[in-house]
Structure formats: structure tokens, C-alpha cells
Amino acid sequence: MSTYSSTLGGHRYRFDSLARLLAAASPERSGDRLAGLAADSARQRVAARWALAEVPLAQFLAEPVIPYEDDDVTRLIVDTHDVVAFAPVAALTVGGFREWLLSEAADAEALAAVSPGLTPEMVAAVSKLMGNADLVAVARKARVVTAFRSTIGLPGRLATRLQPNHPTDDPAGVAAALLDGLLLGSGDAVIGINPATDSPRAVRDLLELLDGVIQRYRIPTQSCVLCHVTTSVDLMERGAPVDLVFQSIAGTQAANASFGVTLGLLDEAYAAVGELGRGTVGHNALYFETGQGSALSADAHHGVDQQTVEARAYAVARRYDPLLVNTVVGFIGPEYLYDGRQILRAALEDHFCGKLLGLPMGLDICYTNHADADDDDVATMLTMLGVAGASFVICTPGGDDIMLNYQSASYHDALYLREVLGLRPAPEFEAWLDGIGLLDERGAIRDVSGTAHPLTAIGKELAA
């Protein structure tokens, strides 16, 4: 194990491993402090960045932050590293890599070409040398396009996940929230429900409800009920209408084990959903959620800072060509991300790292009531992530999720973002919206409240 050092203000700072150096260089957040990994002082943090800037990118291949023998995510990262793709940046230091990423040479094609040569630790490291604006500027250049029944990630587009959750999975309650979201132009990334239970029967009922609406109204989107991967595999075997297989994942083998998931289980699900072929314009059929702090929460972080561990989860995700990946950035609570400032930083880091690693990265921009954050923080994050080119955001009725008991973006927030940044829905979904009279002459979502829109047939049936 190497040691790293730098001198700042006449004081010599030493860091006795790459993992310690990465942790000390990380922007301040409560989770790293809780883990005892954060820099002791503001100056030590900057000293760590000076030292990190000098580390050659190749060193990350030589010194895994979690040993190869101990962790299957490390083995995945090392065994699938693409040396040829890495070649253009192989001679750079982390500091030099930052400058290359910001340069004109690093356009969409160059970023896509180098992506398989990058490891999560490399992109996490460079993110620690970047300001919030850097994270926006580089992520904005990256282009990741995926498709199932709609196409996600095209330039000038922003998709949304419509999240019609209900605390008891009541079908009428779910359908009412679904109608609300559709009338506000939401749902092109996925119509995705967090179920109250993981019981196969309950999950299947919800899948059939969503599938029925999608077929009846010929909506070019996909459904997902966010159950455990093994439940999805089981339901696929029994012929349930599974569009996307969901799983929460993390950046270490032990943290994944705490979610009850292994790479083997994911391999099995990937193969099974691939055989269904339910996509029309594409076949990306996995959906992953991640979030900083999950490894620490499971006591499975191996002394690695929470942002670097989070980036390692993206190595797991990219193995399965997912349609959608999102970080649930403010959900975990103030012991990991204390306030709006820390949540914003984490959101920008996760989006940047995911995009550089080739993922269709979206966000659940959210907060809990014990974090020091509010709806103004959501607006700030949403705007910065919209500029950064986020593939999609999660939206809930009024921004208040009554099932998960947290606040996220609202359907209205997505309307705002599309309006101020000129972003349009996924093209297939946009055409559908136009066909049912929900687009105005400028292509914005028409305000149909107080009118008898045909879609309200869903609501009239429920209300009767």
C-alpha cells in the first residue's frame, strides 16, 4: 500500500492509503464524519486534494480501495477494465484528467469512447477536485441514450418517472395518482411504484394495473413495481407483465448482500428479462436505484468514503445495460447528508460519475423532514441537474410521497424545468401527448384542469 503526502502552509500532511486520501479529499458531509473518515480540518482536506491531483490514474488500477480477494465488486471493476479505451487518458494524473474533461477535446464522442476504460474510483477521485460548476459542465457533454418503449437521454430532452405510490397499494388510489401525473405530462421514463409489501401477489396486481393502462391508452412508456429482484424473476416465470426489473444496489459485495442481492442473481434476472423482449424501440430492461450512505448504513463500506463507494455501485449497474439508474440522493437522512448543500453536492457528484461511467443517470431529488432542507433546495437542485443534462427525475403528486414519507420533486417541478430550459419529453411520449391533446402550440403541457380531457375516463371510472 502506498503512502501519499503534500505540504501546505509549511505543514506536511500524510495519507497512508489511496482510500484514506480519497476520503480526506472528499467535500464535507456528515456520513464521512460518522464513519470517522472525513478530513480533520479544512486545510487537511485541501492538502489531500493537492496530493490527489498528483496521483496517476493508473495507480487506481494498481491499488484497489477494497482488496480484490475480499469483494466481488472490486473483481468486477478490475476484470472488466478496458485497457484500450483507457489508453487516451492512461498517462494523466487526476489533476490532468480534470483539465482534459473540461477541455474541448473531451466532447460527447471522446467521453463515450473513454468510458469503458474508466473505473469508479477514477471518476470519484476527479470529482473531488471539481467544483459544482465543473460537475455540471462535464456531465452536460456526456451522452447516454437508452430505450425500451421510449428513448431516454437524447439532447434537449428530460424524462420523468411518474411515482403514484400509495401506503396500502390501493389500486384506486394508485390509479388516481397515475391519472394526475399523466395529465401533467409525466411518466416517459417509467411509471414506477414502490409497493407497500414485497408479496408476489400484491406486486402482480400492481403490474397488471399499470400494464392495463399502458395498453389501453397506448402509452409509449414502461412500468415497474420496485420489488426485490428475486420477486421479479419469480413473477416473470409465472407470466406476469414485467417490463423492467428493478433492484437497489450498492458499491460493495457486503452492502449488496444486505440488500439480499448478488451479481449472480442480477445475471439471472438480466437474462430472464432479456428473453421477454417487451421493449419496442429498445431493449434496455433494468432499473437500478443507488444512494450515498447505503454501504455505511449496512456497515459494509470497508473504510472507503461514501461518495467513492457510491460510484462503485455504477460499475455494478453498467454490467446490465440498464434503461434507468437514479440516485435517491436525499432520502437516507442527515447522518449521511446533513443539509441542502450536502445533498446538492452529492446529487451533482452522483450524476457526473454515473454519466462518465456510461449510465442513463437520473435523480430522485429529495429530502426527509429531519434533514435541513426544503422545497427551495429541490428547486435549486432541479435547476442545476437540468442544466447538467440529467436523463430523468422522479416526480410525485405535489412533491409529497405519502408511501415513503419524504418529499421529492413534483410534476409541477418537471413542468417548470422543461419550461425554463426548453427541455422536451422523450420523443415517443411527446408524440403521444400531442395525439391526446395535451401539448399546446409551443409544445408545452397544456393546462387541462377544469376541462373534460379524454384521459379523465380513468378517473371517472374510479370515481363512479
Binding site: 444486505s258 439480499g260 435517491v328 413534483s410 413542468l415 376541462t451
Partner: protein
């Protein structure tokens, strides 16, 4: 339903009010341009304000003590000095302040109640004393019940430290749950048999949540469930996943596939957490 021809606006309003019977979600809010109408924006802010105030209002142990007429009480603090530390350092909220630990009355107790502020002192002020009283009334009179411990800046696992320090065989922690937008005064109850600080985990506890009459569990129901759980815990010598709440008859279990033994998926179940945090912060 009227047969008069409705205008489409009236029709729309009727539809949304009918749909609201099925969900508490904030649906059919209308628009001001792209944004929420003023009324709905302020309603959201009011709900968030109630939750924030519940998290940050100081715990007043004397309010709980006053509701426990005649019962002896002892006040303790956790190792998390203040609210900001408490929110960022769950480990400190699980541990007693060293001086306070030394002053706990030791004894051969069968049971100790710990009233902990958790994330809503409001929930504790309103509901903790009635739950202690209703539960105590149902217990075997021979049971040796310790003085009620009133704990400040405390998480659930602080009860393990308390019970261990006092020599109590069983602990019930009554704690303020994380406030949501619809309820900021929800009380949780956690029962643990033979708790050991540092080795007892959440899987070793039984939990009742949403004690909040009249909308949530009533005091009487919570007390009956707790008393039944305690009786079974003493018979079996354990709490947690090995001890189910059988005080009412739940539907038979659904056929379970290979995922049955797995821990809950974050965001895919009511366990919550992109990891695993409990509603009251573990």
C-alpha cells in the same frame, strides 16, 4: 349523481373530490403557469413546518412526568449533547451520558420503560404517558417495574444501555417517530428482551408504530399489544423476528418465493431507507 348537464369545470372538480376518497396524495392541485397554485404551496409549507418544529422542539421531561402521576421517574441524557449532534451522530444517541449512567437505580427489575424524544418530542409529550399508564394497568401486579426513564436526545438503542445498566430483563422504548407531512406526532414502541448494548440489533426487537389516537393506534390497543408481546417474550425468553404479534389475527402468510427470507428492499417496502434506517432513526 345528478342528471343535470354539468359544465366540464364542475365535472372535473367532482371527479377529483371523488378520487381523493382513495388517496391522501396531493392530486388534482391545478396549476399557476407551471407551478402550484398559492393555496397548495402554502399547504405544503404548513405541513413541512409542523414536521420541522416537531423535530426541533426541545424535549420537556416534566410534561411526561406530570402525566405519570405518582410514578417515579429518572431523567437521563444520551451522549449526543445537542440536537445538531443528535441528527448527525446516531451512534451517540444510542449511548448514555457516562455520568447519567452511573446514577441509574440498579435492581432486579423485570421491566423498564424508557420514554425517548427521538425525532418528535411532540409525539412523546402527547402520547407517552398515557401509553405507559395503559400498559402498566394490564401487567401482572407481581412484575417488578423500574422507575420510568425519561431520555433526551435518544434513539431506540439507548434503551439497551439503560436496561443493561439497571439490570432490567426487558425494555420498552417509547419514542417520537420521524415526522411526515401528514403526521408529526406519531409515537413508536420497541420491546426488547435481554438487551445487550452493541450486540442487540433491530431484528431482536418488536415494534408498534403510529400510536396516535384517534387517527393511528389508540392507547388501549397499543397497551394490549404491548402487554401480549411482553407476556410471550417472558415465556419464550426472546423478542424480535422469533416473536410475532399475534394479538389480532392477521391473514395467513402469502406463498413466499425465494425472496422470502431476504431483508426488505430499500424503497420497495415500508422499511424505508436507501440502506436501512428506521423511522425513528434506529
Amino acid at each position: 349523481m345528478t342528471h343535470r348537464q354539468l359544465s366540464s369545470g364542475e365535472d372535473d372538480l367532482l371527479m377529483w373530490s371523488a378520487l381523493r376518497r382513495h388517496t391522501q396524495a396531493r392530486i388534482g392541485l391545478g396549476r399557476a403557469g407551471s407551478a402550484l397554485p398559492t393555496r397548495h404551496r402554502l399547504e405544503l409549507q404548513a405541513a413541512h413546518a409542523a414536521a420541522r418544529d416537531a423535530v426541533h422542539s426541545p424535549f420537556a421531561p416534566e410534561v411526561v412526568a406530570a402525566g405519570l402521576t405518582g410514578e417515579p421517574t429518572v431523567r437521563v441524557r444520551s451522549a449526543a449533547g445537542g440536537r445538531l449532534t443528535y441528527l448527525q451522530r446516531p451512534d451517540l444517541g444510542r449511548r448514555l451520558d457516562d455520568i447519567d449512567r452511573a446514577h441509574l437505580p440498579g435492581g432486579d427489575w423485570d421491566l423498564v420503560f424508557v420514554v425517548a424524544d427521538g425525532l418528535s418530542s411532540r409525539a412523546v409529550h402527547e402520547h407517552a404517558a398515557p401509553v405507559v399508564r395503559a400498559t402498566t394497568a394490564l401487567l401482572d401486579p407481581g412484575l417488578r417495574v423500574a422507575p420510568v426513564i425519561l431520555a433526551e436526545q435518544a434513539r431506540v438503542a439507548l434503551g439497551d444501555d439503560v436496561a443493561h445498566a439497571m439490570g432490567a430483563a426487558m425494555v420498552v422504548v417509547l419514542i417520537g417517530e420521524r415526522p411526515g407531512m401528514s403526521a408529526a406526532d406519531s409515537l413508536g414502541a420497541y420491546l426488547t428482551y435481554a438487551p445487550r448494548p452493541g450486540t442487540t440489533t433491530d431484528a431482536d426487537r418488536n415494534c408498534l408504530s403510529n400510536i396516535r389516537p384517534p387517527l393511528g393506534l389508540t392507547y388501549e390497543t397499543a397497551a394490549a399489544k404491548l402487554a401480549a408481546l411482553m407476556g410471550r417474550a417472558r415465556e419464550m425468553g426472546l423478542t424480535g423476528v422469533g416473536l410475532k404479534d399475534e394479538s389480532d389475527s392477521p391473514p395467513p402468510p402469502l406463498p413466499v418465493p425465494s425472496s422470502g427470507a431476504l431483508p426488505p428492499n430499500p424503497r420497495s417496502s415500508d422499511a424505508g431507507g436507501a440502506g436501512s434506517f428506521s423511522p425513528s432513526g434506529g
